[in-house]
Symmetry: none
Subunit: 217 residues, 4 copies
């Protein structure tokens, strides 16, 4: 479930690799937030991580590896946070709680998400799929959440409908971060969550009706 792209390290001690990479990622994220990937130098990353440039390169092969590690770790963290989301029950409560929880995580990690959003395109053709896969899996969680809810209400949606609702939730979570200048002046995260949730539920209700009445109006 968690296939990673191999990033070569010269150092053999796996535990150490993990530790150093975490230091590296923490430093890199801070810098990427401030200046973006391209304007951040490897030397700065090494310094922020607390070791020398030589040491940095014992744990990665290229600067782009760092970007990959950063993106990967951000997704891992988000996923870890969402791990206890209740995908099965399918109640209204589990749906709204799931969305609220996701939005909260997006609020807390908005800097990280922003980084990923803007820099992911700098990933090599090689690394991109691994990151996209994680996105895909997260969207799939929302699909399931919706699917169960709808089933519980004894409805049947087309896959394309569920998929779109899930995509919308996913992007609306990220929006909160990457359009903060527009949204966070007007709403608290709570308000934002409430409104978007309302819209989501209306959307579902609408799809239910259009299914019953047999389509277009």
């Amino acid at each position: 479930m968690d296939e990673k792209r191999e990033v070569h390290a010269s150092v053999k001690d796996e535990r150490l690799v993990e530790k150093r990479r975490n230091e590296m990622i923490r430093g890199a994220v801070t810098l990427f937030k401030q200046k973006g990937f391209h304007r951040t130098t490897t030397r700065e990353i090494a310094k922020a991580a607390g070791f020398s440039i030589g040491t940095l390169y014992e744990y990665i092969r290229t600067k782009e590896d760092i970007l990959y590690l950063v993106c990967d770790s951000i997704y891992d963290e988000v996923r870890l946070e969402l791990e206890d989301m209740d995908l099965e029950r399918g109640t209204l409560e589990s749906l709204t709680l799931g969305v609220a929880h996701y939005f909260q995580v997006m609020d807390r990690m908005q800097d990280e998400v922003l980084v990923m959003y803007q820099e992911a395109k700098s990933l090599s053709k090689d690394a991109l799929p691994y990151v996209l896969k994680k996105e895909f899996e997260m969207v799939a969680m929302f699909e399931k959440l919706i699917q169960r809810y709808v089933e519980n209400r004894e409805h049947q949606f087309q896959e394309s409908q569920i998929h779109l609702l899930a995509q919308n939730i996913f992007v609306q979570g990220q929006m909160w971060g990457f359009r903060r200048w527009a949204l966070q002046k007007k709403y608290s995260i709570k308000e934002y969550t409430k409104l978007q949730t309302e819209l989501l539920l209306e959307g579902i209700r609408g799809f239910e009706n259009s299914a019953r009445t047999g389509g277009d109006r």
Copy 2:
């Protein structure tokens, strides 16, 4: 309505400045699409524009100026396209047509929008507001579109509700481009438009109801 940030040019002939800058922008957009802002060199831009590096610098002061010009011109183009949107009538038709038209433009200009999306953060603190202002104005168009529609139906929404609906429309248009790998496999632009419009209308209906019943359910 169309305040521009001054970009210094050594050349005095305004007509010429305009012409050269357009050549520049066209070349730059092509390159930015392929390789992003940072991986594109000024020399490449000059070449793509059809003049020498020296000439390029007669019309701008820094590389970042080019990015600003590009972003600015993309927004101008989008705005120009949406100019004849009917914001006043407030019918269901004018609403759905407006959204559909916007989505179509986003479909046609998805590369440009993607560029802007990913590179705007490289704009200087100085230039950013000018670009954000244009975004803001576009969102305002959708707000008006919705506002009129709702008024026509003799409803009264809170500003925060309208604002959110407008933001959603705006982002859903961009999504089509920046999440193309996820969306364009599953939907045609027509299907996508139809589904999102359905959700939008359900959302509006929902807000109407909650206004009438006086709030939370």
Copy 3:
């Protein structure tokens, strides 16, 4: 007759390219003589050539290009020197003069030849053939010199015999430079030339005899 491997230059003015490259080569040869190719930095070369590192890279693409240009120019210089060698007459005099002249050039250019000798292996697989070709052509000159001489004496050598004699001459010229520590203590270039020429002529005589008597003794 003088196919060159293209070395890319950003600068377009061919005359300038030629001029700057010559400055570059002169500087590089001096440095390579002292410290070898690998221990010489591109910055040192730029400095020795009298321009900045940036300018250096306007005229080449990689450090290895410099090595190629150096090797190529050394061979060109040697060849230019040997241009008026009389390959046709086939007299004893033209043979001995030819060899003597070659040895003299090798004496004068011993540093350059030494450089080429020791560094040529650092040329890329790509560039090597171009350099070897020039060597090959020089050996061919000696083959012709010998061939004509032998013909004049109404003899017929096997190609393998002529080839070996030519290779020996060629290497003995280079030896004078790359084994200087052993040879130049004991001989002046004149003595060295005289002795090697004597051996060459004896060798030819010997091959003539073995041809007449029909081979092995």
Copy 4:
């Protein structure tokens, strides 16, 4: 007869030093053959030798030490091979056998010889004399071989003549390796040996005659 330059080792056990250094040399030669001294890293050498970089540096002080050890060991091996050459008898047979044997060794060890040839100049001023001395001693063997042969034939050569013949033999042996691309396409080692031997004998005969007739012709 076999003075070595001290190469410092931290490890005291002489037997171990010898063993480790041999492993090191074997690994290094393989690598130097492929990529040359400068392009081979100390880490690669350590790995090829079967121990860690830390251990490597217990047995040498600098990378250049390895080059010295390699050169030294190659010469030792050549010398060992030539040990049973019959320098005393002075017959035609012992002369031709001696040369043939040397050429055979050069054929077998051509890679090693090539390495030495191209990298020896990277030895420090400090180490070079030790290596040159060994070369010198080998040339001296050929001098003796020729000297005895000439004496047997009741001739008296000048030292400069003998020295040159010996240098020629020595270099012609190495040529076989370092000009392999030119020679090994045309000759087998047997043919090459036969031809060069013929030339050598003619040279000797020529010197005998010129001695008898008293000089230049």
